[in-house]
C-alpha cells in the first residue's frame, strides 16, 4: 500500500516536472498570452507599414496613451479590492478646471501643480469616505460623484475654455527628456509602473490588497484595516487624477468642461484587459502595463493603416470580452487536465 502511494507521488512529481506540462502552465498565464499578443501585433504592423517600427514614431505615439496608462495604475488597487471608480474622468476635469482657472489669474507652475494634486486628493478622499462610511457600493457612489465633480466644472466653466497658461507649462505633456526622443510623460509612466509594481508585489501593503480582494471579511478578521486601505486607494487615485490633469492640460493647453470625457471606461478597460479580476484579488502590474501598451500601439498602428476610429472601438470592446472569457476557458481547460491527470495516476 505504502509502495503504491509512493509510486503515485513519484509519478505526480515527474508529471509536474515534465517539460510539456510546465510549458502549458506557463503559456496559459494571462500575462504571457498578452505578451505574445503584443509581439504579434508589433510584427503585423511592422510588415504592413514601414512607419511603425521607427523609434521616433514609437516614442511619439506614447503621448496618446501615457495619461490613461498612468491612471490605470492606481485603478489596479481599487479594482484589486473589489471596488470600482467611475468618477476619475470627472475628477480630472475638475482638477483641469482649477488649473486652467488659476493659470488665467497668473498662478505659477508649482502652485498649479499643488492645486491640482490637492483638489484631486480631496475628491478621491470624498469618494473613499462616502463609500466606506455607510458601506455603499462603489459603483453607485462614484456614479453620483461623476456627475457632481464634472457638474462643478460645467457649472463654473459653462461653454467657456481656459487657454492661458504660464510659459514652459507645456513641458509636462509635450516635451521630451532633454537630448533624447523619449517624452517626459512616458518616463514618468515607466517610473510609476516600477513604483506600483514594487508596492503591489513586494510590500506587505500589496499583499494585503490581494487579501482584501479575495475576502474582505477574512482580511478584516486577520487584522487588516480594510476600510482605511480602501479609503487610501480612492485618495491615491484622486491624487493621480490631479497629476494626470496637469499632464493633460499641459499637452493640449486648453481646458473645457468636457475634457477627458469617457476616460473612466477606457481606463477600466486597460485594467481588466491587463488581467485584474473585476471581483478583486487577482492581477499584476505587469499585466496592466502590457495591456496598456497593447491598446496604445494597436490604436497607433491601426491609425497608421488608416483604419477608422470606429473599428478600433469595436476591436477594443472585443479584446475586453475575450480578455475575460479566455482565462476562464483556460481555467476550465486546466481544471479538466488536472482531473484527467489525477484519474490517470489513480489508475
Amino acid at each position: 500500500m505504502a509502495e503504491k502511494r509512493d509510486l503515485v507521488a513519484k509519478s505526480r512529481l515527474i508529471d509536474e516536472m515534465s517539460l510539456k506540462n510546465r510549458l502549458i502552465e506557463y503559456f496559459t498565464q494571462w500575462e504571457v498570452l498578452l505578451s505574445i499578443i503584443i509581439v504579434v501585433v508589433f510584427v503585423f504592423f511592422t510588415i504592413r507599414t514601414p512607419y511603425f517600427l521607427d523609434w521616433f514614431n514609437l516614442m511619439n505615439a506614447t503621448f496618446q496613451f501615457s495619461e490613461k496608462a498612468i491612471m490605470a495604475l492606481p485603478m489596479i488597487f481599487i479594482i484589486m479590492c473589489g471596488d470600482i471608480d467611475i468618477s476619475i474622468a470627472s475628477i480630472i476635469a475638475l482638477c483641469a478646471y482649477v488649473v486652467g482657472n488659476a493659470a488665467q489669474s497668473g498662478a505659477s507652475i508649482p502652485s498649479l501643480i499643488f492645486l491640482a494634486l490637492l483638489v484631486g486628493t480631496l475628491a478621491g478622499l470624498f469618494n473613499g469616505v462616502m463609500i466606506t462610511a455607510l458601506e455603499m457600493p462603489a459603483i453607485a457612489v462614484t456614479l453620483a460623484t461623476q456627475s457632481v465633480f464634472r457638474g462643478i466644472a460645467i457649472g463654473l466653466l459653462g461653454d467657456q475654455a481656459r487657454t492661458e497658461f504660464p510659459e514652459n507649462f507645456g513641458f509636462f505633456g509635450q516635451q521630451f527628456i532633454p537630448g533624447t526622443i523619449i517624452p517626459f510623460e512616458f518616463v514618468l509612466y515607466l517610473v510609476l509602473v516600477l513604483l506600483f509594481a514594487f508596492i503591489l508585489h513586494k510590500t506587505t501593503y500589496g499583499r494585503r490588497l490581494y487579501a482584501i480582494g479575495n475576502s474582505a471579511e477574512a482580511a478584516r478578521f486577520s487584522g487588516i484595516k480594510v476600510k482605511t486601505m480602501r479609503i487610501i486607494n480612492f485618495t491615491v487615485t484622486g491624487f493621480f487624477c490631479g497629476l494626470t490633469s496637469i499632464l493633460l492640460a499641459s499637452r493640449i493647453l486648453s481646458v473645457r468642461s468636457n475634457i477627458a470625457t469617457g476616460w473612466d471606461l477606457e481606463i477600466i478597460t486597460l485594467v481588466v484587459l491587463g488581467g485584474v479580476a473585476i471581483t478583486g484579488g487577482k492581477g499584476s502590474v505587469y499585466g496592466v502595463f502590457i495591456g496598456s501598451m497593447l491598446v496604445g500601439y494597436l490604436k497607433f498602428g491601426m491609425g497608421l493603416l488608416k483604419f477608422s476610429g470606429t473599428l478600433m472601438t469595436i476591436v477594443i470592446g472585443l479584446l475586453l470580452i475575450t480578455a475575460v472569457l479566455l482565462p476562464r476557458l483556460l481555467d476550465m481547460y486546466k481544471a479538466n487536465r488536472k482531473l484527467r491527470l489525477q484519474q490517470m495516476s489513480r489508475n
Binding site: 478597460t269 478600433m312 475575460v324
Partner: protein
Amino acid sequence: MPDLSFSSFVKKALARREATLTVLLVVLLVPISIRSPQFLSAKNISTILNDMAILSIVAIGEFYVILSNGIDLSVGSIIAFTGMATGMINEANPTVSPLLLLLAGMGIGMVMGLFNGVLVAYGKIPPIITTLGTVNIYRGLTFLLSGGTWVTAHEMSKSYIDFPRNSFLGISNLLWIALLVIAVFYYFSRYTRTGREVYAIGGNPTAAKFVGVNESRVRVVVFLISGTLCGLAGALWTARYASAVNEMATGFEMQAVAACVLGGVNFAGGSGGIIGVVLGTLFLGVVTNALPVIYLSVFWQTFVQGLIILIALTLNTMSDQRKTKKLLAQRRG
C-alpha cells in the same frame, strides 16, 4: 397584536420608498409652482412627461438588470444603433408604418440584449465587463452602419416623425407607449413567475437555485428585456428628435441608472419596484425642468443631478441599515 392606529399607518406608508418619493416630489413642486405658477400648467406638465417618457422606458430595462444584481452600461449604444437602424430603414422605405419601425427597433435591440445576456449567463463574464465591452462594440457598429453620416429630418417620412407627437385622447403616442410599458412590466414583476424569479436571483442567487430557479435563464431574460426596451426607445428617439446621429444617447446609461437609484432600487440586487423607478424618472425630470425657474443656469444641471443621486443613495442606505438593525433587535428581543 397588530398596531392599527393612524400614526402607525402613516409611519408604515412613509416607510415605503414610493411614498417618500411622492412626498418629496410634492414638497419640491410647491415652492417651484409658487415661484412660477405656469410650471404646473398642463402644457409644462405634458412637456416634462414627454421628456421623461423615453428615459422611463430605458430605466425600466435597466431596473431589471440591476434587480438581478447586474448593470447594463450598453443601453446608450443600443439606443444609438437601433435609432440609426430605424432611421435608415425609414430613409430607404418612407412608406413603412411607424409601428413596424418600432417593432424593428425592438427586434434589433432584443438581439443585442441577447448577446449581452448570453455572455453574462453562459460566458460567466460579470455584467459590468460584458456591457463595458459591448458599449464600445455597439457604438462602433453604429458608426459602421451609418458610415459616419446622419439621417436628418428631411430624409425621414412625416408619418414617422409625427408619430410620437400625435395624440390619442389628448395624450401623445409617446406617452401612451411609456404607460403601456410601465403597465406591462408592473404586471410582469409582480404577478408572473419569471418576474418574481428576477427578485429571487437578485436577492440570494444560491437560495434561488436551491428552489429551482434557472439562474442562467433569468440572467438572459433581464438583458433581453433591457435590450428590447432600448430598441423601442431608440426607434422613438429618432422619431422624436427627427434625426439619427452616431453620438445619440451617449452617457444615457448614467441617467437610467440614476433613475433607478432615485427610485430606491438596491444596487446589491433583489429589491425595488417599477413604480419607484417611474417616480425616480419623474423626479429627475422635474428637477431638470425646474432649474431655470430657480434662476440656476442649465450648466448646473449635471451637478444638481449628481447631488440628488448622492443624497438619495445615502438616505436609501441609511434607511436600509436602520431596518436591518431593527430586525436584528426584534430577533434578539
